[in-house]
Structures are given as structure tokens and as C-alpha cells.
């Protein structure tokens, strides 16, 4: 083992030696790289030494004397890890900065090297004053590197940085020397033995020391100087500060917390939480890339501060949580800064320049999802553990603050990502890939995945299915250059394989969703054959979404469930954002999803209080706050379900998606919400929150959702939006059915779920085909298409008859069941509204089919073709199933009823053949279908007899008030089809909820704008902030002076 002191000797030796080289910059740089590499190697070797077998950390005595008489360094597991991180960032950062360093000359190389050295020693030293010295080295070095490219931005930023850190380190020094005075030693371990806190004045000294360390970590709001540096400095330097320097700082804080007592720990955790919340809130108003990253870094470090402060509560878990989050921050932030350097776009919107560039977007997406804490990245597991522990310690306020903070972070990060993927008002120009900048970034991205896997292992997450899926996704991503039909076949094959492998592993309710997810997936994927070319990036995402969906079924523990949930969200987000104008819709989708996910997460957290395991069955007996947990989770799942109030993301997201994505997200993805609710209701049953039956409230939410969804659908001009709203409505029914918690209610609900899957994919596919051909989504621009697209017409016809729930088709079954269930349950008013809503669905059904297929054909659409073959195939498969189910309703309802018997034994239907007998009524689907068909044929025969030789006439050959209309536009009654209805009831669908959410968002932005005005750019104000922070924290901690 090489003595760690040689990290110092080598670094300094090289730094001093560079003076000899004169003008040979290249050589100098080479030497610097070697030095950094050696330092890296040393810390790596020590890590491998300490790995696994836990050995005591070794001490290095400088001056050859034992502490406290001389300064000693320590190298243990923790030190080795942190120095490794620092040196890695150092080496890669130096490689990234190669050109800049060459341009700047050897002085800057020296400074860079010394910076890395300083960070190393900060981690290793055990002497307080020595720590001060090397922190000074660090800050001076950074102050130097800030002006690596001196310009109007970086120089003032650097100056502010110098004066601020000058003040802070003076405070540190003051504290340090007085610690020496009161404690008689400077060695950290010895100081911690002295009970200085109880010496008068000693406590002040310790306060100053710890506080100045905290200040070095840029707490909100005393961090304006840091933000300026992040914005002004070269991104490469920003990466170094954010990754390496902050890492070291965190370690130092952790090291020095031995001085403090509970008051200090609490103070740290609160400061951290405020920082996290505050800086993320301010971030949402920020439009400059680097400053945004600055806000985010500050926030992340704040989060880690909180975790350190929570050490007394978290105990053993602290290491895991802190490390998971720190590593994610380290990788992602460095990566993003580096990307920012490569793309070199100041404003967030300018990132639209890289839209469509697979590699850049892949990297960016990786890092951003790492930051927000999506699976499979370490932060996901870290956040999970954190939430669980916070809940266990009943720290609900902190929990809320942290989740809200991360939500804000999500807001600006996803907005940014959206711009990069979609913003098309800047012309595309791909920065050409410089290897020295590119390779480090890629390495970090890869590390993010690898570490994610590792942390998954640590936190006991093992789902072979997900790993297989991940492998398959990766495969698809790599072989993305293959033509569509190959990839499509692969995808379908994989799904089919999975189906046949597992068709009897799922029992009970999950089997229903299993069928919907897998079979549904296959059917909708068939439509993919329509597309030509490569369809870059589509299949990995689809598979990601389906992997998530199936993962929900496979999940045995809450962790696995949540993992799958987030995976599905991520996949669907990317699927949705592929659509043409779907940038902001995708944003609102992901934000609502993230918000909902956090509610679910906290629900899980509360649910598992007092449990050891994390199995899904913890929901079955929740020890504390069961109603709250229940409500949180219910709302969380309802965001996915787009229940009224949480629905505003859905129409845009589903309407703007591609032709075959809409059916997936609408007909299949939404069922995830239902699945969640089913799971929740079954395990936690009815709950009373403040004496109110939550389910009763939800039943109202359900019917109102149905009403509003249908009514809004009736007023749409855009065909796909119409369908989207109708999804909202139908799922409102489903929710209502579930809330009844009775056999019939669930039977109704589930049958609606199944049929909704069928008719909604049917309709979305059909309309998608039409839109493909007509190139418009507005119904009033179509008309008379029945002649060009008869097959699509039939699909839509069947589809709407099922939606409307008209006998004889199977939709009626749902209605009939619902009626019986309600009678049984006694929720008459909900029933009234439910059926009112049901009839309103006639409005949009007719509008859909009439304005598109009937009426007057438009001139420009006279010769559109029938929808593509592969779009029709899945439609007709579905139609066949629908007709069979209509003829033999019990083939669907009986099995579901059987399953439900396990949960709701009484109140089941009685079947005589196809005759279903409920508590109130009876219904014989087969017979009805037969009768209606016979009558229909009879009448048709009669009409045909009396009316054989009816002669086909041309368009416009109609009685038109003795006129002959000449323009279809004026003759086709389509626009604002239900004007009188709108006049009568339009007020019901005034966009109140949308306005509400807009107001919320505007409010948040306004607040952020107000608060951030404290960063007035004046260095002196920042000094004042630092002083003020000190004073206020002191007062709050000691309740006075």
C-alpha cells in the first residue's frame, strides 16, 4: 500500500516542478494528468484494501509525532471512497478541460492540481487548523479557476466568491483558535473528547466552526456568491465545484459534527431542508442553464445536509441514504455541467438545438432522471430509504418539505429536458463531439446505471423480470438502427413469450390486468407495422412502459411496486413527448405523475411505520395514520386515473401523441391507476378521515369525473381530444364502481375497465388512422369519409355503440350491472348523475361519427385512402372479441365474478346460461342480440321489398330549401355542434380547474421571482447575507445571545 501522504507529495512536487518547464504546455499537461492518475490510483488501491473486510482506518503522522502533538491524516473506508470520488472528478475534469488548460498555461494547471490536492487533504486530515489551511487552499484555487476564461461574467463572480469565502474562512479561523484556547488542542478527535459545549465561550467557538463549514456548503439564502460562480465560471469548473468540492465539504461537515449536540444536528437538518426547498423553488424561475444547475446543486447539497443532520434518527441508514443521494448528485451534476459545456447554450430554450440527437439526449435524460430520483438510479433508492426512515421517525413536516422540494426540482429539470427534446424555434445544430469532453461524460452516465444497480442490490431490490426487461430495452436501444418491422416483431415476440411463460402465474384480480397489459400491448403494437423507416427510439420506450406495467403485477414489495410505477411513468413520458406539439403536455403529464408518485411514496412510508418487511401486505394492517396513508395513496393513484381536478394533463397528452401511442397510453396505461386503487381498496378497505368516509367522497369524485369528462368531450372540436376526455369520463365510472366496495360494483367497474380497454383502443386506432390520412385532427375539417374509409367507419360505429352502452352490444352489460349495484348500495344521487353522464356520452359519440364520416365530404379530402392495413388489423381483432362478448356476456363476466367471490362472497350474479339474474333485474344478452338481429333483418327485408330500385345520387342532391348548396364547408353542420347545449350547460365546463392549476403555477413562479430578488448581484449584500445568516441561526439555536 502506498502511503496516502504521497497524494500530497506527488501533487505538490509536480505542481512545484511545472515551473521548470517554461513554455512547454503540452508536456506540463501530460505530467498533470499522470499526477492525477497516480493520486486516483492511490485512493483506489486503499479503497480496494478496505473494501469488504472492515479494518481500522490507518493514521499517518506528519512530523513523525503522535497526535495531538503533530498533525495526523486518516485513511479509512470513508476517506478512501471520498478521495476516490474527488480524484476521479479531478482527473476526468482535467481531461474535459484539456483545451482550456492548454490555452491558460501552466499556472492554471498548477492551480487545478493544487485544488484537487486540497480537497484530498480536507477529507483526510484530522487537525482542525490544518483543515482550515487546506480549505483556504481550496477556496483560493477555485477563485483562481473561476477566471480560467476571464470575461465580464466570470471576473466579478470570482471577486464575490473571494470576499465571501474570505469572510467565511475568517469566521472558521476565529472559531478554531478559540477552540484551541478553550480546549487546549487542535486535533479533532481530542476536541470531541473535551466537553467544550459546556465551557462558556467554547460553545460559541464550536458554533462558529460548524457554521462556517455550513456556510461553505452554500446554505440558502446566504449563497448568492456561489450561484454567481456557477453561472460565471467555465462549466468544467462548475462541474468540479459541484461534484468534487461539495463532496469534500459534505465529508468535512460530517467529520466535524462530532463536536455538536442534538441542537446542532437539528439545526443542520433544518438549514438543509430550507436550502433544498428554497433553492429548488427559486430554480423554477431560472432560465439560464448554468445558474439553474447552480440552484440545483445548492439544493442537492442542502438535502445531504439534512440527511447528515438526521443522523441521530437515521442511525445506520444514514450512510446508505447520504451516499446514494450524494453519488447521484455527483454523477448527474458533473455530467450536466459537462453537457452544458459541450452544448454551450445559455438559455434553456437554446437547448432545442440538440433535439433529435440521440446521444446528447440520452446523456441528458440519464442525468436528469438521476437527479430527480427515478429508477434505476441510486437517488431513487436513497430517496425511498429516506422517506421510509422519516416516516418511521414521524418527521412528517420534513418529509413534506423534501418531497415538495424535489417536486420543484422536477419542474425545472423536466421543463429543460422538454426544451432539449422538442423546442423547435431554434435551428438544430449539433455541437461536434470532442472526445476529451465526451468520454468523461459518458463514463459518468455509465457509472450512474452501474451504481444504480449496486444500490438496488444493497436495498434488497431484486426483480429478475425487471433486469431481463432492462436487458431487452438496452438491446433495442443498441439495435435501434434496424427497420421498424424487425423491431416491432421483436417487441411483439417478447410480449408473447412473456405471456405464454406466465399465463398461469397470475391469479385473482391481477390476472385481469395481466391480460389487459400484455394482450392489449400486443394488439396495439400490431399497429406499429404501419410505420416505415427506423422510428428511432420508439421501441425501447414502449418496452420500458410495458416493463413498468408488468412490473406492477410482478411486484411483491412496496419498493418493487414503486420502482415499476416510476419506470412506467418515465417510459410513457418519453412516448408522449414524441408527439408533434406535445412539449408542454408531456411536461404537465410528468409533473402530475411525479406529484402523484410522491403522494404514493409518502403513503407507503406511513403505511410501513412499525413494520419490518416491505411486502405489499403491510397495507393490510397499517399501524398509524391509516386514513391519511389511504387518502394520500388514493389521490396518488387518481392522478394517473385523471380524476376530476387532476385531469388537466390528460387531454393534451393523449391527443398529441402518435397514432398508435394514444391507444397505449389511453387504453392500457390508465389501467395502472385502477390497478393501484384495486390493490389499495382491497388491502385497506374503507377508511374514515376526520369522520368522513373517504370512499363516499371518492364516489362523488367518480361520478363528477364521469359527468365532466363526458360533457367536455361533447364540446371538443378535436377528435383525439374528444376521445381523451371520454377516457376521463369512463374511468370516472370505473372509480365510482370500485368505491361501492360490493360484488356488483366491482364487477361493473372491472367489466367497464376491460371493455374500455377494447373500445378505446379501437376508437383511438380508427381515429388515428383517419387523422393519418386527413392530416387534421379537427372534425369540422372532415366529413363524408364513410365512402373513402368504410372499414374505419364500421370500427367507429361499433366503438360508439359500446361506449354508449346501447343494447344489444356488450357495453350495455356494464350499465345494467352498474344500475343493479347502485340499487343495492343506495347511492341514488350518484346513480342519477352517473346515468345522466351516460346519456351525455351519446352526444360525443354521435358527433364523432357524424362529423367525421357522415355529412358532406370536403373537396380536398375527396380522394383520401382507407386507413393503413396494419392499423385496421388490431381494430378488427378487437371488434371480433367485442361481438363475441356481446353474444356471450357470461364468458367475460362469469370469470371475473368468480375471482371477485374471493373478495366479495355475497351479492354475486346468478347465471342461467346467458341469463344473468341480479338482485333487482335480469338480462339475457344472447337473447337480446338474437331478437334485435331478427327484427332488424325482418324490417330490412320489408324496406328492401318496398324500396328495391332506390337510385344512388350524387353529393348535394338534397332538398335544400329549393336551393342547391355548392360548398361542403357551408353545408356540413359540424362546428360547435351542440351550440344550444353549450348555451344551456356550458358554464359547467368552464375551465375552472385548469385556471386553478395555472394560478398555482403562476403563484409559485411569482413567489420565486420575489424571493430571488435578494440575490441582487452585489457582493456586499452577499456578505451581509452571510452575517445575517450567522446571527439568525445563532439566535434560533440559543434562543437569544
Amino acid at each position: 500500500m502506498v502511503n496516502p501522504i504521497h497524494i500530497v507529495s506527488i501533487a505538490l512536487g509536480v505542481a512545484f516542478a511545472l515551473g521548470f518547464l517554461g513554455k512547454r504546455e503540452k508536456l506540463a499537461l501530460g505530467i498533470v494528468y499522470t499526477a492525477l492518475a497516480v493520486m486516483l490510483a492511490i485512493s483506489a488501491s486503499w479503497l480496494s484494501h478496505f473494501w469488504g473486510n472492515v479494518t481500522e482506518p490507518i493514521q499517518i503522522f506528519t512530523g513523525g509525532f503522535k497526535p495531538p502533538f503533530a498533525i495526523n491524516l486518516q485513511m479509512g473506508l470513508a476517506e478512501s471512497v471520498f478521495t476516490l470520488l474527488i480524484n476521479t472528478a479531478g482527473l476526468l475534469g482535467a481531461i474535459y478541460l484539456a483545451n482550456e488548460l492548454l490555452k491558460a498555461g501552466k499556472n492554471m494547471m498548477i492551480v487545478f492540481l493544487v485544488l484537487v490536492l486540497g480537497l484530498n487533504v480536507m477529507v483526510m486530515t484530522r487537525d482542525l487548523f490544518n483543515l482550515f489551511v487546506f480549505m483556504e487552499i481550496q477556496s483560493i484555487a477555485i477563485a483562481g479557476l473561476v477566471i480560467l476564461n476571464p470575461d465580464r461574467k466570470s471576473i466579478p463572480a470570482g471577486f464575490k466568491y473571494v470576499i465571501a469565502t474570505g469572510l467565511i474562512s475568517s469566521l472558521l479561523l476565529l472559531g478554531t483558535v478559540f477552540i484551541y484556547y478553550f480546549g487546549g488542542t487542535l486535533n479533532i478527535d481530542f476536541i470531541s473528547q473535551e466537553s467544550l459545549l459546556y465551557v462558556k465561550g467554547g460553545s460559541v467557538a464550536i458554533f462558529l466552526v460548524l457554521l462556517s463549514i455550513v456556510l461553505e456548503l452554500k446554505p440558502f439564502p446566504a449563497n448568492g456568491w456561489a450561484l454567481d460562480v456557477y453561472e460565471g465560471a467555465h462549466p468544467g469548473i462548475g462541474a468540479l465545484i459541484s461534484a468534487a468540492s461539495a463532496t469534500a465539504g459534505v465529508f468535512v461537515l460530517d467529520k466535524l459534527m462530532v463536536f455538536g449536540n442534538f441542537t446542532f444536528f437539528n439545526a443542520i437538518s433544518i438549514i438543509g431542508a430550507i436550502t433544498f426547498l428554497g433553492s429548488n423553488l427559486l430554480g423554477i424561475k431560472q432560465d439560464n442553464t448554468r445558474r439553474l444547475l447552480g440552484y440545483s446543486s445548492v439544493g442537492q447539497i442542502g438535502l445531504i445536509m439534512t440527511i447528515i443532520g438526521l443522523k441521530p434518527y437515521l442511525g445506520e441508514n444514514t450512510k446508505f441514504i447520504a451516499l446514494a443521494i450524494l453519488l447521484s448528485h455527483y454523477l448527474a451534476k458533473a455530467g450536466l455541467f459537462w453537457l452544458a459545456g459541450m452544448v454551450n447554450a445559455d438559455k434553456l430554450k437554446d437547448w432545442g438545438a440538440i433535439r433529435g440527437h440521440r446521444i446528447y439526449l440520452f446523456l441528458m435524460g440519464t442525468f436528469i432522471f438521476t437527479l430527480v430520483g427515478f429508477p434505476p438510479f441510486p437517488s431513487f433508492f436513497g430517496k425511498w430509504q429516506l422517506v421510509m426512515q422519516l416516516a418511521n421517525n414521524h418527521h412528517f413536516w420534513l418529509l413534506a418539505i423534501i418531497l415538495i422540494g424535489s417536486f420543484f426540482e422536477g419542474v425545472y429539470l423536466f421543463r429543460w429536458l422538454g426544451y432539449a427534446i422538442k423546442w423547435d424555434e431554434v435551428e438544430q445544430n449539433y455541437p461536434k463531439i470532442k472526445l476529451n469532453q465526451f468520454i468523461p461524460t459518458v463514463i459518468f452516465a455509465v457509472l450512474a446505471y452501474a451504481l444504480g444497480f449496486y444500490f438496488g442490490e444493497l436495498s434488497g431490490y431484486k426483480s429478475t423480470f425487471i433486469y431481463m426487461a432492462a436487458a431487452f430495452i438496452a438491446f433495442l436501444y443498441i439495435f435501434d438502427f434496424l427497420p421498424v418491422f424487425v423491431k416491432n416483431t421483436l417487441a411483439i415476440g417478447a410480449m408473447a413469450l412473456y405471456y405464454f411463460a406466465n399465463q398461469d402465474t397470475f391469479h385473482g384480480l391481477t390476472s385481469i390486468f395481466f391480460i389487459i397489459f400484455v394482450i392489449g400491448g400486443i394488439i396495439t403494437l400490431l399497429a406499429g407495422y404501419t410505420f416505415k423507416g427506423k422510428r428511432t427510439g420508439f421501441y425501447p420506450l414502449v418496452m420500458m412502459m410495458f416493463a413498468g406495467l408488468i412490473g406492477l403485477l410482478e411486484a411483491k414489495t412496496t419498493l418493487e411496486f414503486f420502482f415499476a410505477w416510476e419506470l412506467m411513468t418515465a417510459g410513457s413520458y418519453f412516448l408522449i413527448i414524441r408527439g408533434k406539439k406535445s412539449m408542454e403536455h408531456a411536461l404537465s403529464y410528468i409533473l402530475f405523475s411525479v406529484g402523484g408518485a410522491y403522494l404514493i411514496l409518502s403513503g407507503f412510508g406511513i403505511a410501513q411505520i412499525g413494520h419490518t418487511g416491505m411486502g405489499l401486505d403491510v397495507l393490510k394492517d397499517v399501524h398509524y395514520y391509516a386514513p391519511i396513508a389511504f387518502t394520500l395513496m388514493a389521490i396518488g393513484f387518481m392522478t394517473k386515473l385523471a380524476s376530476i381536478g387532476l385531469h388537466i394533463w390528460l387531454p393534451g397528452a393523449h391527443a398529441e401523441a402518435e397514432a398508435d401511442v394514444s391507444p397505449m397510453v389511453s387504453a392500457i396505461l390508465l389501467k395502472a391507476g385502477i390497478l393501484g386503487l384495486v390493490m389499495l381498496f382491497l388491502s385497506m378497505g374503507p377508511q374514515k378521515l376526520f369522520g368522513i368516509d373517504v370512499l363516499y367522497v371518492l364516489s362523488w369524485v367518480g361520478v363528477l369525473t364521469a359527468l365532466m369528462g363526458n360533457m367536455m368531450a361533447a364540446f371538443q372540436e378535436d377528435a383525439k381530444r374528444l376521445l381523451a376526455y371520454s377516457s376521463i369520463g369512463v374511468l370516472g365510472y370505473a372509480l365510482f364502481g370500485l368505491t361501492m366496495m360490493s360484488h356488483l360494483g366491482w364487477l361493473a367497474s372491472l367489466s367497464i375497465v376491460v371493455t374500455h380497454f377494447m373500445f378505446k383502443s379501437l376508437l383511438f386506432l380508427a381515429i388515428g388512422g383517419v387523422v393519418m390520412r386527413t392530416k387534421t385532427k379537427y372534425m369540422y375539417q372532415m366529413g363524408g369519409l364513410i365512402k373513402q374509409m368504410p372499414f374505419s367507419f364500421v370500427s367507429v360505429l361499433i366503438g360508439i355503440i359500446v361506449i354508449a352502452g346501447l343494447p344489444p352490444l356488450t357495453g350495455f352489460g356494464g350499465k345494467w350491472l352498474m344500475f343493479n349495484a347502485i340499487m343495492e348500495n343506495g347511492w341514488y344521487f350518484q346513480a342519477g348523475i352517473a346515468f345522466f353522464a351516460g346519456v351525455i356520452s351519446f352526444l360525443y359519440c354521435f358527433r364523432l361519427i357524424h362529423t367525421i364520416f357522415l355529412g358532406q365530404p370536403k373537396d380536398e379530402l375527396r380522394n383520401v385512402k382507407e386507413a393503413p392495413f396494419w392499423m385496421l388489423v388490431p381494430q378488427y381483432i378487437i371488434i371480433t372479441i367485442l361481438l363475441v362478448l356481446s353474444a356471450l356476456p357470461n364468458s367475460m363476466l362469469k370469470p371475473i365474478g368468480q375471482i371477485l367471490l374471493n373478495y366479495f362472497p355475497d351479492g354475486a350474479l346468478v347465471w342461467h346460461g346467458q341469463l344473468a339474474i341480479g338482485p333487482y333485474g335480469y338480462w339475457n344478452g344472447k337473447l337480446i342480440l338474437a331478437i334485435v338481429t331478427i327484427i332488424f333483418l325482418a324490417v330490412f327485408a320489408w324496406l328492401y321489398i318496398i324500396n328495391r330500385k332506390a337510385q344512388k345520387v350524387k353529393q348535394f342532391n338534397i332538398v335544400y330549401a329549393a336551393e342547391r348548396p355548392f360548398r361542403p364547408e357551408t353545408t356540413h353542420f359540424a362546428y360547435n355542434f351542440y351550440a344550444p347545449y353549450q348555451k344551456a350547460l356550458g358554464f359547467l365546463v368552464a375551465p375552472g380547474i385548469t385556471n386553478f392549476w395555472d394560478a398555482v403555477s403562476d403563484g409559485a413562479h411569482a413567489i420565486a421571482d420575489k424571493i430571488r430578488s435578494i440575490y441582487n448581484g452585489n457582493g456586499q449584500t452577499y456578505l451581509a447575507h452571510i452575517l445575517g445568516f450567522t446571527v439568525i441561526v445563532y439566535i434560533l439555536m440559543n434562543g437569544g445571545f
Binding site: 364513410i786 365512402k787 360505429l797 354508449a804 346501447l806 343494447p807 344489444p808 350495455f812 350499465k815 344500475f819 343493479n820 347502485i822 340499487m823 341514488y828 344521487f829 346513480a831 342519477g832 348523475i833 346515468f835 345522466f836 346519456v839 351519446f842 352526444l843 354521435f846 361519427i849 357524424h850 357522415l854 355529412g855 358532406q856 333487482y920 333485474g921 338480462w923 337473447l927 331478437i931 334485435v932 327484427i935 332488424f936 324490417v939 330490412f940 324496406l943 318496398i946 330500385k949 332506390a950 344512388k952 345520387v953 342532391n957 338534397i958 335544400y960 330549401a961 348548396p965 356540413h972 353542420f973 359540424a974 355542434f977 351542440y978 351550440a979 344550444p980 347545449y981 344551456a984 350547460l985
Partner: protein
């Protein structure tokens, strides 16, 4: 129950009776209305003449498949509705096909014809047809809310959705009729009934007086004939439904004729007494007083 040639004959018989009764009503009611307006009015057998005329028309044109099928849907809806009802209480002969489904089926099956017809009208490409459909659907949806509440109230009153049982429960004198035992539900239903009959003040859908408007605008000759058949059968079916729900059904044809006649008369009475609503007005109206009755009906169960 076994289903043989006999039943089919019974069905046809029912159809035949109802058809003629419907045609006659069609003749009489306008006459009554005209007399109220101090006009002479049509002859009572005018509908027969029209029917024959329309079937005899020689010029026949079609706008396409849906256009052709529209009337078929419509008539199917009418006949189906009739046949799913127990026409004569207690008579196995005229119980028809009510064993196939209950009240829910009947309520929803009304719309089968409506929607099919609307599609046919739509394909005719005549704007007036589409406007008519839009108006019609708007009104129907509006009156559905009080209707549902009323029906639920009744179903709860008798704890069944089976029409025959509902009728059975009302036997034995006027005092057992639902209209007496559950007046608010009755009121709600009778008010929505007005809307469903499409007479004033709710006749803007068809608007018979003005230039031809409404779904049938483009229909003529045989098509119109079929539609007329439906116009004869469908209202009677609805009358029978309301009779069964509110007025204790009928144990014999004469009783049926009398009861249904007066129920029909109620709509005519209102029609001659009140001017026409615009659609938005009628929508608001249905969600006013009738809805109130419906809610009270529910609350009083």
C-alpha cells in the same frame, strides 16, 4: 320458456294491434289539437292514406348505406321496445319478450333506434337533419336525469327492475298506482314524458310547421313509410311503458287503450297550451322543476 311458432304469431298480433292503434291516435290527436285552435284538422284516417301513398311512391333515391339503414334501425328500435315490454299484464300471450331484459334494457333500448336514425339522417348530408339530431340529442340527455331519478325511485319503491313485478305491485285499485303512492316520481316521469313525445313545447326538434327540418328531412317514399310505421308504434310503446310504471298497467286491451289515450292526451294538452321552447331553454327547464321532483322522489323513499 319455450319459444315456438305460436309466440311469433302472438308477437305479430301485438304488433298489428298496436300499429293500428298508433295510426289512429296519429289521426285523432292532431285533430283534437286543431279543434282547440279553432281549425277543422285532418281526417282521422289521414295517416293510413299517407302510409299507403308513401309506399306507393315511385321515385326513390338513396344517399348511401347508412342512409338506407337509418329507417331500419329506427323501426327496429320501435318494435324492439314494444316487444321488450309486457303489454297486457298477466296475459302470457301478450307478455311478449319481456323475459329477455328488465327496465334498464327498455330504458336504454329507446336510444337504439334514435342513434341509428341519426346516423342515417347524417349520411343524407342535409344540414337540417344534423341540426335536428343535435337538438334532439341535447333534449333527450337533459330529460334523462329526472327520468332516471324517477325510475330509480320507483324501482326502489318496489325493490325490483322487473316491469311485470312493478305492474303486479300496483294491482287492486287506483290507490295502488304509483302515481298515487309515489306522486313525485310520477310527476318527474310525466314531465319528462312530455319531452320524449316531441310535442310542443319540446317540438323544435322536428319543427313540423316550418320548412322540413329534423332527422327525416331527406327521407321520402318507402323510407318515410317505414318511419311512419315507427311513428305509429314507438309512441304507443312509450305510452305502455309509462302506463306500466305509473298507472298500474293494463289487464286487457280496452283498458290499455283508455289509459294510453289519456296519457297521450296529457302531452297534447300541454302542447296546445304552451308555446315552443328553444333547445337551451328546454334543457334548462328539464334540469329545473322535473329534476327537483326527481330529487324529492329519491329523498322520500
Amino acid at each position: 320458456m319455450e319459444f315456438g311458432i305460436k309466440q311469433i304469431l302472438y308477437l305479430l298480433l301485438t304488433l298489428f294491434i298496436v300499429l293500428n292503434y298508433g295510426l289512429i291516435l296519429q289521426g285523432i290527436m292532431p285533430k283534437i289539437a286543431a279543434r282547440v285552435g279553432r281549425r277543422y284538422g285532418i281526417r282521422w284516417y289521414q295517416p293510413y292514406l299517407d302510409l299507403i301513398k308513401n309506399h306507393a311512391k315511385r321515385s326513390k333515391i338513396t344517399h348511401g348505406v347508412m342512409y338506407y339503414l337509418g329507417p331500419v334501425f329506427r323501426l327496429t328500435g320501435g318494435i324492439g321496445l314494444l316487444l321488450f315490454l309486457p303489454v297486457i299484464y298477466g296475459s302470457p300471450v301478450f307478455g311478449n319478450l319481456s323475459f329477455a331484459g328488465d327496465l334498464t334494457l327498455v330504458l336504454f333500448f329507446q336510444f337504439f333506434g334514435v342513434l341509428g336514425m341519426a346516423l342515417g339522417a347524417g349520411e343524407s348530408g342535409h344540414p337540417h337533419s344534423a341540426i335536428g339530431v343535435s337538438r334532439g340529442l341535447s333534449q333527450v340527455t337533459a330529460l334523462e336525469l329526472p327520468l332516471t331519478l324517477g325510475v330509480i325511485s320507483i324501482a326502489m319503491q318496489y325493490h325490483t327492475l322487473n316491469i311485470s313485478d312493478i305492474v303486479a305491485a300496483q294491482q287492486g285499485g287506483v290507490m295502488n298506482w304509483t302515481i298515487v303512492t309515489n306522486p313525485f316520481a310520477g310527476a318527474a316521469l310525466m314531465l319528462t314524458f312530455l319531452g320524449s313525445m316531441g310535442r310542443a313545447p319540446f317540438d323544435v326538434v322536428m319543427a313540423p310547421q316550418e320548412i322540413p327540418i329534423g332527422p327525416p328531412t331527406e327521407y321520402h317514399s318507402g323510407f318515410l313509410g317505414v318511419l311512419q310505421l315507427n311513428r305509429a308504434i314507438f309512441p304507443v310503446a312509450k305510452l305502455i311503458l309509462f302506463m306500466n310504471l305509473l298507472y298500474g298497467g293494463a289487464t286487457s286491451w280496452p283498458e290499455l287503450f283508455i289509459k294510453t289515450f289519456f296519457i297521450y292526451l296529457w302531452s297534447v294538452f300541454v302542447g296546445v297550451a304552451f308555446p315552443r321552447f328553444r333547445v337551451d331553454q328546454s334543457v334548462r327547464w328539464f334540469l329545473g322543476v322535473p329534476l327537483l321532483f326527481g330529487i324529492i322522489a329519491i329523498l322520500l323513499i
